[in-house]
């Protein structure tokens, strides 16, 4: 047998190393729809508990919205289950085009191309438009999918310190001789919840004749006055050359992503982006659901307003209770615990209190930066947040970390 014991033992050993380091990921099983209240089985085989979900990307509470479900049902009936085709062969229905137009309108860009996921959009966009004469200058904390997309591109690459505009300017000066300079950033950073300084970045890009790409996966639908994204927040609609985003978070949560921006860039992606040419088109049932999401968002800002209020309440509550949280203006609010094991124990205790929030530790975040990343939803009502806050405070008291500084917590629990 070619899968020799040597290979098997190698992987078994690697797995036990992960376990010993306390960074093994266990799956938890959700027995209900995605919503503020969910039913969870954890660990495998344990009895199902009803808990409050504080860590989904369901920011607008639309992942089980009855109108979205109804639209999905209708989509199944009218346009079928699957297309079994990539876009350019026989995988484009009228509703695909319709969704692209809706996204273009919503984001204030010139054109949009759909991808099976934002991971695929990020994997495909750089290689489709840049060559070795160009340079990609990215923030050091961009999402993993952007990193992979850049690795697949032959353009040169440099990085700047996270959100550090002086450092970005130095890099733009350093690389002035390159043909195309593309500055790359997340709109909202997924682990810390902070917003990119898009206003300053746009200014710098204009000054140094560079283009800008923003991954708005954690902003589309709710950041900005009408939820159009980070560019709306910074009054930069129309100034971002490329926006990538997902329909797998706030915008329904099922699947799908897109590249939206300048017309020629999108056209080049249609001709050259590998995930577009070689991977299945988004299925009609999913498209139908996302179209309904856009209907809901265009009719009122109720959901994103509620989300904003919820997030502000939650930040205030945690800060006043004595937790260390990262500053920000988004519904991603990391509660910093620094030590990996502490974050896992804290999460288990929260679970016993009926709150579902998991610990994030290396390699998802840097070593010594473990946290519980809470994510607020428009689906949260006041009673959810109150119960959650009380639980956090109770567990915080148990571990005696309320009011402590980072140094004090790490002294107590180690890094």
């Amino acid at each position: 047998m070619s899968y020799s014991n040597k290979v098997k033992d190698f992987y078994r050993h690697q797995l036990s190393e992960i376990q010993n380091a306390g960074i093994y990921k266990e799956e938890r099983f959700i027995h209900s729809s995605q919503a503020a209240d969910i039913e969870v089985e954890f660990p495998s085989g344990a009895s199902v508990r009803k808990v409050i979900n504080m860590c989904s990307n369901n920011y607008l509470g639309l992942s089980s919205h009855p109108e979205v479900l109804k639209a999905a049902h209708e989509g199944l009936e009218k346009r079928g289950y699957g297309m079994s085709s990539v876009r350019f062969i026989c995988g484009t229905q009228d509703i695909h085009r319709e969704l692209e137009n809706r996204v273009t309108e919503f984001l204030g860009t010139e054109d949009t191309i759909l991808f099976p996921s934002c991971m695929d959009a990020n994997a495909g966009v750089f290689e489709a438009i840049l060559t070795s004469e160009d340079i990609m200058i990215s923030d050091r904390l961009v999402h993993a999918s952007i990193i992979d997309g850049m690795r697949l591109c032959s353009a040169q690459h440099d990085t700047f310190k996270h959100s550090n505009m002086e450092h970005l300017e130095e890099k733009l000066q350093l690389h002035a001789d390159k043909r195309i300079k593309l500055v790359i950033t997340d709109g909202v950073f997924s682990m810390d919840g902070d917003l990119a300084k898009l206003d300053e970045m746009v200014q710098l890009c204009e000054k140094y004749d560079a283009m800008i790409l923003v991954d708005d996966s954690h902003s589309s639908g709710f950041i900005g006055r009408t939820g159009r994204g980070t560019h709306e927040y910074f009054n930069a609609i129309g100034k971002i050359d490329i926006i990538t985003t997902t329909f797998g978070k706030a915008l329904g949560g099922a699947s799908g992503g897109c590249v939206s921006g300048r017309k020629e860039i999108v056209q080049m992606c249609r001709q050259r982006a590998r995930p577009y040419l070689f991977s299945n088109t988004i299925s009609p049932v999913i498209i139908a659901g996302v179209l309904k999401v856009f209907d809901i968002l265009s009719s009122s800002t109720e959901r994103r307003d509620k989300l904003e209020i919820n997030a502000a309440w939650w930040r205030k509550g945690l800060t006043e209770a004595g937790f260390i949280i990262k500053e920000g203006n988004s519904p991603i609010i990391p509660v910093m615990l620094f030590n990996a094991k502490l974050s896992q124990d804290f999460s288990k205790d929260l679970y016993n209190e009926g709150i579902y929030a998991i610990g994030f530790f290396f390699p998802v975040v840097p070593n010594g930066q473990a946290r519980i990343r809470t994510q607020i939803s428009a689906g949260h009502e006041t009673h959810h947040l109150e119960k959650a806050l009380n639980a956090f405070i109770k567990v915080g008291k148990k571990y005696e970390i309320l009011g402590l500084t980072k140094e004090q917590i790490t002294a107590k629990y180690g890094m």
């Binding site: 995605q34 800008i212 797998g248």
Partner: protein, 397 residues
């Protein structure tokens, strides 16, 4: 900011157009099936979808999807390990493992992601990947993201594979990777021989069964079934987006430790959204259907044989194939587009395949058969191909 680049791109697009390589989309306003409706109002016969078993609009799958919408909602809005795993996901993983006779399965949004995320966690710069030259683009991208040493063998060339295996003996672990059915040509990988060589030279084997699962093998279990070597391949990747319903979803299935390790380290799994419950539910229904009866697989095999033999008799240059893919070679990109346009006038929907999906000078029309096709559909297509073939001087009159 953008002006210079805009001109540069506009030029590139113009060049693509002038070279006859521009891709246009046709817009469909019906569900996928043997017969589809275009936005021009025309009803045409579809001969180029991956809908091999005709299940993309199947009422039982739709019913299962609807039930899951009602019970489990629309989307998970989460990666798997946070709050993106339901009982449906786990059940589907088990069913797929059962179907392929493997030990465990991990789901992805697409096989593109499964292939993108399999090599990097498993192999380091001390290891070797030995890859067939015609492997799918997603495998190529997955290999590019991995630091292992890269070896390449000519398409299905077992002597070349053996040479590469010998060269790769200096690496620690070796992984041979091949498509089960090659997507542009339709030929089947000589998997039995590959496994023999793998055993001889101490290598693992990975097969991408995207165009073979559901299609090849007596019960549609793919190339490992075809060669009677089920369970002997370490890693199988595949898709739910072709024969198995056509919506979305992909998977890696294989040895337990490998799958478990992928759950801990595979980037698309850790950083991309979990598939929606409705797709998992339809997937479960589909595997049950496939396990109960072979009617669809049998019909697909009959349709493929019927079509390919008649097209070959007509005199077309068909790539040797043992799958449901029939590559009609035309070589010139513009000719392939002209041929396809004329076929559309005859009510047959196919498209020309040209650079960059196939190498330059190797343009073709890739016909794909389906269990949804009836004999009269096949006869109509064959007739149209014959007519246009003569008209354009490809066939002798």
């Amino acid at each position: 900011m953008y002006t210079a680049f805009k001109d540069h791109l506009a030029n590139q697009l113009k060049e693509i157009e002038e070279a006859g390589l521009f891709k246009n989309e046709r817009v469909i306003i019906s569900p996928q099936g043997a017969e589809i409706e275009l936005d021009t109002g025309r009803k045409v016969l579809n001969f180029c979808s991956n809908n091999y078993l005709g299940l993309s609009n199947n009422p039982d799958l739709i019913e299962a999807a609807k039930r899951a919408l009602d019970d489990h909602g629309y989307g998970m809005s989460s990666v798997r390990f946070i709050c993106g795993t339901t009982d449906l996901h786990k059940k589907l993983e088990k069913k797929i493992a059962g179907f392929f006779n493997t030990e465990d399965t991990i789901l992805y949004a697409a096989c593109f992601d499964a292939n993108g995320g399999v090599f990097e966690p498993l192999l380091t710069s001390e290891d070797a990947i030995i890859s067939d030259a015609l492997n799918h683009a997603s495998i190529i991208d997955g290999v590019r993201l991995c630091k292992a040493q890269r070896y390449r063998y000519e398409n299905a060339d077992m002597e070349d594979l053996e040479t590469q295996l010998q060269l790769a003996q200096e690496q620690k672990f070796r992984l041979i990777v091949t498509d089960g059915v090659f997507s542009m040509d339709g030929n089947v990988a000589p998997l039995k021989k590959i496994v023999e060589l793998a055993n001889l030279y101490n290598a693992m084997v990975m097969v991408d069964e995207s165009h073979s699962a559901g299609v090849v093998g007596e019960t549609g279990r793919g190339v490992t079934e075809l060669y009677d070597i089920m369970g002997q391949v370490e890693i199988i990747t595949g898709t739910l987006g072709k024969a198995f319903g056509g919506a979305i979803g992909g998977f890696t299935t294989g040895r337990k430790e490998i799958i478990e390790f992928l759950r801990q380290r595979s980037r698309p799994y850790l950083f991309s959204n979990s598939i929606p419950p409705l797709v998992a539910a339809a997937g479960i229904k589909l595997v049950d259907m496939m396990t109960k009866t072979n009617t669809l697989q049998d019909k697909l095999h009959r349709n493929s044989e019927y079509f390919i033999s008649r097209m070959t008799s007509l005199g077309f240059d068909i790539k040797p194939t043992k799958s449901a893919i029939c590559a009609v070679m035309l070589y010139d990109a513009r000719l392939s587009q002209e041929f396809a346009a004329k076929l559309l006038d005859e009510g047959i929907y196919v498209i020309g395949f040209y650079y960059p999906v196939v190498p330059k000078g190797q343009a073709r029309i890739r016909v794909q058969l389906s269990a949804a096709h009836e004999t009269e559909h096949l006869d109509k297509a064959i007739g149209a191909f014959g007519k246009i073939g003569k008209e354009l001087g490809i066939l002798k009159k």
